[in-house]
Assembly symmetry: C2
Homo-oligomer: 116 residues x 2
């Protein structure tokens, strides 16, 4: 059993277009023997956003802290601490921070795709 | 795309031995078309705990709020907001609240087992 604080995992920074102010960490993945799905934690700075994109695999997302919005069907939907987002495969999506504190969310993907 | 606050999902209460003070919600599952893994949110009251048990499937857990402990290899390991726990299949585990506020955590399981 692995027990860590998420901040102890290696951080990867994405700060080049089409991402901005994104820090990501794989906290449970193939290296831990997790064969079915992978947990990542992302932090978006107050002006940060993920790329607007789509791909064949799904996301299961839980918002841990902060406030922001998610792009759904051509419009922004507000999210905050405690929000849950299911992004089915092939659906366009983007997350952005709309507040003054860091937006932190848990984002899971199935195994077999790039972990981060 | 599904966007909800986790508290909007149907709550199921587990308050009979070997569980105590546990409220669980399936927030992303088969009903949403999630074919690979399932997200649940659990809240443990200040005196609450999950059963001490093991099963063939894994858990991927993120602690959203509160303080507690997880049973690992015959001893309690402290957990708190931001802790990540990977419980491999067939490993005995239990979570308990050791604080005065609700212990809230996200717990994911692979598809194909009972969702809650």
């Amino acid at each position: 059993m692995k027990v860590i604080h998420y901040s102890a995992a290696e951080a990867k920074v994405f700060n080049a277009d089409p991402a901005k102010g994104v820090t990501g960490r794989v906290v449970i993945g193939q290296a831990d023997g997790a064969a079915n799905f992978c947990m990542r934690i992302f932090e978006l700075s107050p002006d940060g956003h993920t790329p607007k994109h789509s791909h064949s695999w799904e996301h299961e997302i839980f918002v841990h802290a902060g406030t922001g919005a998610v792009w759904r069907d051509g419009a922004w939907v507000e999210i905050a601490r405690g929000s849950v987002i299911f992004v089915p495969g092939n659906e366009e999506h983007q997350l952005k921070n709309t507040g003054t504190e860091v937006l932190t969310f848990v984002c899971l993907i199935p195994s077999g795709v790039e972990e981060i």
